[in-house]
Protein backbone atom coordinates (compact mmCIF):
# COMPACT_ATOMS: atom_id res chain seq x y z
CA UNK A 1 0.00 0.00 0.00
CA UNK A 2 1.26 3.46 -0.87
CA UNK A 3 2.07 5.86 1.95
CA UNK A 4 1.29 9.50 1.21
CA UNK A 5 1.99 12.63 3.24
CA UNK A 6 0.03 15.82 2.55
CA UNK A 7 1.81 18.91 3.88
CA UNK A 8 -0.22 22.11 3.67
CA UNK A 9 -1.20 24.76 6.21
CA UNK A 10 -4.69 24.79 4.72
CA UNK A 11 -6.89 22.08 6.21
CA UNK A 12 -9.26 22.70 3.30
CA UNK A 13 -6.66 21.90 0.64
CA UNK A 14 -5.45 18.84 2.55
CA UNK A 15 -9.03 17.63 2.73
CA UNK A 16 -9.58 18.21 -1.00
CA UNK A 17 -6.36 16.38 -1.88
CA UNK A 18 -7.31 13.50 0.43
CA UNK A 19 -10.82 13.30 -1.10
CA UNK A 20 -9.39 13.06 -4.61
CA UNK A 21 -6.61 10.60 -3.80
CA UNK A 22 -8.78 8.24 -1.75
CA UNK A 23 -11.18 7.92 -4.69
CA UNK A 24 -8.31 6.88 -6.94
CA UNK A 25 -6.30 4.44 -4.87
CA UNK A 26 -5.94 2.48 -1.67
CA UNK A 27 -3.34 4.21 0.46
CA UNK A 28 -2.42 5.46 3.89
CA UNK A 29 -2.45 9.23 4.19
CA UNK A 30 -0.89 11.30 6.95
CA UNK A 31 -1.43 15.06 7.05
CA UNK A 32 0.91 17.75 8.36
CA UNK A 33 0.28 21.48 8.70
CA UNK A 34 3.82 22.69 7.95
CA UNK A 35 7.38 21.48 7.49
CA UNK A 36 8.11 21.13 11.19
CA UNK A 37 4.93 19.15 11.77
CA UNK A 38 5.87 16.94 8.82
CA UNK A 39 9.35 16.17 10.19
CA UNK A 40 7.82 15.28 13.54
CA UNK A 41 5.34 12.91 11.89
CA UNK A 42 8.08 11.33 9.74
CA UNK A 43 9.38 9.70 12.93
CA UNK A 44 6.51 7.22 12.65
CA UNK A 45 5.68 7.24 8.95
CA UNK A 46 7.72 6.75 5.78
CA UNK A 47 5.92 8.19 2.76
CA UNK A 48 6.37 6.97 -0.79
CA UNK A 49 4.86 10.22 -2.02
CA UNK A 50 4.76 13.75 -0.63
CA UNK A 51 2.56 16.70 -1.61
CA UNK A 52 4.25 19.85 -0.27
CA UNK A 53 2.72 23.30 -0.28
CA UNK A 54 5.40 25.88 -1.05
CA UNK A 55 4.16 28.65 1.25
CA UNK A 56 3.68 27.59 4.84
CA UNK A 57 4.43 29.12 8.24
CA UNK A 58 7.15 27.75 10.57
CA UNK A 59 8.90 25.74 7.85
CA UNK A 60 8.00 26.23 4.19
CA UNK A 61 7.84 23.61 1.48
CA UNK A 62 11.19 24.46 -0.09
CA UNK A 63 13.00 24.03 3.23
CA UNK A 64 11.24 20.72 3.78
CA UNK A 65 12.10 19.65 0.21
CA UNK A 66 15.80 20.38 0.87
CA UNK A 67 15.60 18.38 4.11
CA UNK A 68 14.01 15.40 2.37
CA UNK A 69 16.43 15.42 -0.56
CA UNK A 70 19.42 15.62 1.78
CA UNK A 71 18.21 12.55 3.64
CA UNK A 72 19.01 9.22 1.94
CA UNK A 73 15.98 7.66 3.62
CA UNK A 74 13.72 9.60 1.23
CA UNK A 75 15.81 9.26 -1.93
CA UNK A 76 13.19 7.01 -3.46
CA UNK A 77 10.21 9.06 -2.34
CA UNK A 78 8.40 11.13 -4.93
CA UNK A 79 7.69 14.77 -4.17
CA UNK A 80 5.01 16.98 -5.73
CA UNK A 81 5.10 20.70 -4.94
CA UNK A 82 1.86 22.70 -4.72
CA UNK A 83 1.92 26.39 -5.47
CA UNK A 84 0.17 29.24 -7.25
CA UNK A 85 1.05 30.21 -10.79
CA UNK A 86 2.46 33.53 -9.65
CA UNK A 87 5.39 31.62 -8.17
CA UNK A 88 6.79 30.13 -11.38
CA UNK A 89 10.35 31.02 -10.47
CA UNK A 90 9.96 29.06 -7.25
CA UNK A 91 8.50 26.10 -9.15
CA UNK A 92 11.65 25.93 -11.30
CA UNK A 93 13.74 26.20 -8.14
CA UNK A 94 11.91 23.23 -6.57
CA UNK A 95 12.51 21.04 -9.62
CA UNK A 96 16.21 21.88 -9.46
CA UNK A 97 16.15 20.95 -5.77
CA UNK A 98 14.76 17.52 -6.53
CA UNK A 99 10.97 17.77 -6.68
CA UNK A 100 9.52 15.28 -9.16
CA UNK A 101 6.56 17.37 -10.22
CA UNK A 102 4.37 20.30 -9.27
CA UNK A 103 0.71 21.21 -9.21
CA UNK A 104 -0.62 24.73 -9.62
CA UNK A 105 -3.57 26.08 -7.63
CA UNK A 106 -6.38 26.13 -8.62
CA UNK A 107 -6.21 22.49 -9.66
CA UNK A 108 -8.88 20.04 -10.73
CA UNK A 109 -9.28 16.41 -9.60
CA UNK A 110 -8.30 15.42 -13.15
CA UNK A 111 -5.02 17.34 -12.88
CA UNK A 112 -4.14 15.65 -9.62
CA UNK A 113 -5.08 12.26 -11.07
CA UNK A 114 -2.84 12.90 -14.09
CA UNK A 115 0.07 13.76 -11.79
CA UNK A 116 -0.38 10.45 -9.97
CA UNK A 117 -0.40 8.64 -13.32
CA UNK A 118 2.68 10.51 -14.54
CA UNK A 119 4.49 9.49 -11.38
CA UNK A 120 3.25 5.89 -11.84
CA UNK A 121 1.61 5.93 -8.42
CA UNK A 122 -1.67 4.74 -9.96
Amino acid sequence: MTNIMLVDDSTTLRRIQRNIIEKLMTCTIVEASDGKDAIEKLKNFKPDLFFLDVNMPNMDGITLLKYLRSNAQYAGSKIVMCTSESEKARIIETIKLGANSYIVKPFSPETLEQKLKDLKVI
Binding site: S10, T11, T12, R15, I16, E85, S86, F107
Partner: protein
Amino acid sequence: MDVRYVNPFILSTIETFNVMLKLKVTPGKPQLKMDPFPTHDISGIIGISGDAVGTIAISYPRIVALKTVSRFLDAEFKIFDYAVTDAIGEITNIIAGSAKKDLGGLNVQISLPNVVIGRNHKLVGPKNAQNILVPLQSELGSMYLEVSLKTP
Protein backbone atom coordinates in the same frame (compact mmCIF):
# COMPACT_ATOMS: atom_id res chain seq x y z
CA MET B 1 -8.86 52.15 -10.31
CA ASP B 2 -7.59 50.92 -13.65
CA VAL B 3 -9.70 48.07 -15.02
CA ARG B 4 -6.52 46.05 -15.59
CA TYR B 5 -6.27 45.64 -11.82
CA VAL B 6 -9.85 44.32 -11.51
CA ASN B 7 -9.98 41.96 -14.47
CA PRO B 8 -7.34 39.53 -13.14
CA PHE B 9 -9.46 38.98 -10.02
CA ILE B 10 -12.60 38.43 -12.09
CA LEU B 11 -10.82 35.95 -14.34
CA SER B 12 -9.21 34.05 -11.48
CA THR B 13 -12.58 33.91 -9.69
CA ILE B 14 -14.18 32.33 -12.76
CA GLU B 15 -11.26 29.91 -13.14
CA THR B 16 -11.09 28.90 -9.48
CA PHE B 17 -14.80 28.09 -9.25
CA ASN B 18 -14.74 26.35 -12.61
CA VAL B 19 -11.63 24.25 -11.98
CA MET B 20 -11.98 23.37 -8.30
CA LEU B 21 -15.77 23.25 -7.89
CA LYS B 22 -16.93 22.55 -11.45
CA LEU B 23 -19.12 25.61 -10.94
CA LYS B 24 -19.80 28.08 -13.70
CA VAL B 25 -19.75 31.60 -12.32
CA THR B 26 -20.98 34.43 -14.49
CA PRO B 27 -19.82 37.93 -13.55
CA GLY B 28 -22.16 40.88 -13.88
CA LYS B 29 -21.04 44.37 -14.78
CA PRO B 30 -18.39 45.72 -12.37
CA GLN B 31 -19.69 48.77 -10.55
CA LEU B 32 -18.37 51.35 -8.13
CA LYS B 33 -19.55 50.38 -4.68
CA MET B 34 -21.96 53.07 -3.50
CA ASP B 35 -23.92 53.47 -0.30
CA PRO B 36 -26.09 51.62 0.60
CA PHE B 37 -23.50 48.85 0.46
CA PRO B 38 -24.75 45.33 -0.21
CA THR B 39 -24.98 43.09 2.83
CA HIS B 40 -23.61 39.59 3.26
CA ASP B 41 -23.65 36.71 5.73
CA ILE B 42 -20.07 35.47 5.27
CA SER B 43 -17.02 36.94 3.53
CA GLY B 44 -13.56 35.55 2.78
CA ILE B 45 -11.12 38.46 2.75
CA ILE B 46 -7.48 38.72 1.65
CA GLY B 47 -5.29 41.74 2.37
CA ILE B 48 -3.04 43.06 -0.41
CA SER B 49 0.15 44.99 0.29
CA GLY B 50 3.13 46.23 -1.70
CA ASP B 51 2.72 48.29 -4.89
CA ALA B 52 -1.07 48.09 -4.44
CA VAL B 53 -2.79 48.17 -1.06
CA GLY B 54 -6.27 46.98 -0.16
CA THR B 55 -8.47 43.94 0.09
CA ILE B 56 -10.13 41.31 -2.07
CA ALA B 57 -13.27 39.62 -0.82
CA ILE B 58 -15.76 37.03 -1.93
CA SER B 59 -19.03 37.45 -0.04
CA TYR B 60 -21.95 35.07 0.16
CA PRO B 61 -25.44 34.74 1.57
CA ARG B 62 -25.50 31.98 4.19
CA ILE B 63 -27.17 29.31 2.07
CA VAL B 64 -24.94 29.97 -0.93
CA ALA B 65 -21.82 29.70 1.23
CA LEU B 66 -22.95 26.35 2.64
CA LYS B 67 -23.77 24.99 -0.82
CA THR B 68 -20.46 26.26 -2.18
CA VAL B 69 -18.39 24.65 0.56
CA SER B 70 -20.42 21.44 0.31
CA ARG B 71 -19.45 21.20 -3.33
CA PHE B 72 -15.84 22.26 -2.70
CA LEU B 73 -15.30 19.64 0.03
CA ASP B 74 -17.59 16.97 -1.41
CA ALA B 75 -19.65 16.72 1.80
CA GLU B 76 -22.81 18.31 3.08
CA PHE B 77 -22.46 21.26 5.45
CA LYS B 78 -25.46 22.81 7.19
CA ILE B 79 -23.84 25.12 9.73
CA PHE B 80 -20.89 27.50 9.79
CA ASP B 81 -18.24 25.38 11.46
CA TYR B 82 -14.43 25.54 11.19
CA ALA B 83 -14.38 23.52 7.97
CA VAL B 84 -16.77 25.97 6.31
CA THR B 85 -14.96 29.13 7.39
CA ASP B 86 -11.56 27.68 6.45
CA ALA B 87 -12.87 26.72 3.01
CA ILE B 88 -14.43 30.17 2.46
CA GLY B 89 -11.07 31.74 3.29
CA GLU B 90 -9.18 29.29 1.09
CA ILE B 91 -11.32 30.04 -1.96
CA THR B 92 -10.43 33.74 -1.73
CA ASN B 93 -6.81 32.81 -1.06
CA ILE B 94 -6.58 30.75 -4.24
CA ILE B 95 -8.29 33.50 -6.26
CA ALA B 96 -5.90 36.19 -4.99
CA GLY B 97 -2.84 33.95 -5.39
CA SER B 98 -3.77 33.13 -8.95
CA ALA B 99 -4.53 36.76 -9.90
CA LYS B 100 -1.26 38.09 -8.51
CA LYS B 101 0.73 37.21 -11.61
CA ASP B 102 -1.51 39.30 -13.88
CA LEU B 103 -1.47 42.62 -12.02
CA GLY B 104 0.42 44.52 -14.69
CA GLY B 105 3.82 43.98 -13.13
CA LEU B 106 2.79 45.24 -9.69
CA ASN B 107 4.76 43.58 -6.93
CA VAL B 108 2.20 42.66 -4.29
CA GLN B 109 2.00 40.32 -1.33
CA ILE B 110 -1.15 38.67 -0.09
CA SER B 111 -2.09 38.08 3.53
CA LEU B 112 -3.51 35.00 5.13
CA PRO B 113 -7.29 34.88 4.62
CA ASN B 114 -9.70 36.30 7.16
CA VAL B 115 -13.32 35.28 7.34
CA VAL B 116 -16.10 37.53 8.61
CA ILE B 117 -19.38 35.95 9.69
CA GLY B 118 -22.33 38.11 10.59
CA ARG B 119 -25.84 38.37 9.29
CA ASN B 120 -26.17 41.38 6.97
CA HIS B 121 -22.63 42.64 7.49
CA LYS B 122 -21.12 45.22 5.15
CA LEU B 123 -17.54 45.46 3.91
CA VAL B 124 -15.84 48.84 3.80
CA GLY B 125 -12.61 49.15 1.81
CA PRO B 126 -9.49 51.07 2.86
CA LYS B 127 -9.63 54.87 2.88
CA ASN B 128 -8.80 56.42 -0.52
CA ALA B 129 -9.16 53.06 -2.27
CA GLN B 130 -11.63 52.60 -5.06
CA ASN B 131 -14.15 49.94 -4.25
CA ILE B 132 -15.36 47.84 -7.15
CA LEU B 133 -18.24 45.44 -6.77
CA VAL B 134 -18.72 42.53 -9.17
CA PRO B 135 -21.95 40.54 -8.79
CA LEU B 136 -21.48 36.83 -9.53
CA GLN B 137 -24.22 34.46 -10.58
CA SER B 138 -24.04 30.68 -10.33
CA GLU B 139 -26.40 27.72 -10.12
CA LEU B 140 -25.84 27.75 -6.34
CA GLY B 141 -26.97 31.38 -6.04
CA SER B 142 -25.50 34.85 -6.19
CA MET B 143 -22.35 36.14 -4.51
CA TYR B 144 -20.06 39.15 -4.80
CA LEU B 145 -16.44 39.80 -5.62
CA GLU B 146 -15.26 43.02 -4.01
CA VAL B 147 -11.98 44.58 -5.10
CA SER B 148 -10.87 47.52 -2.94
CA LEU B 149 -7.42 48.63 -4.02
CA LYS B 150 -5.29 51.73 -3.88
CA THR B 151 -3.09 51.41 -6.97
CA PRO B 152 -0.26 53.60 -8.33
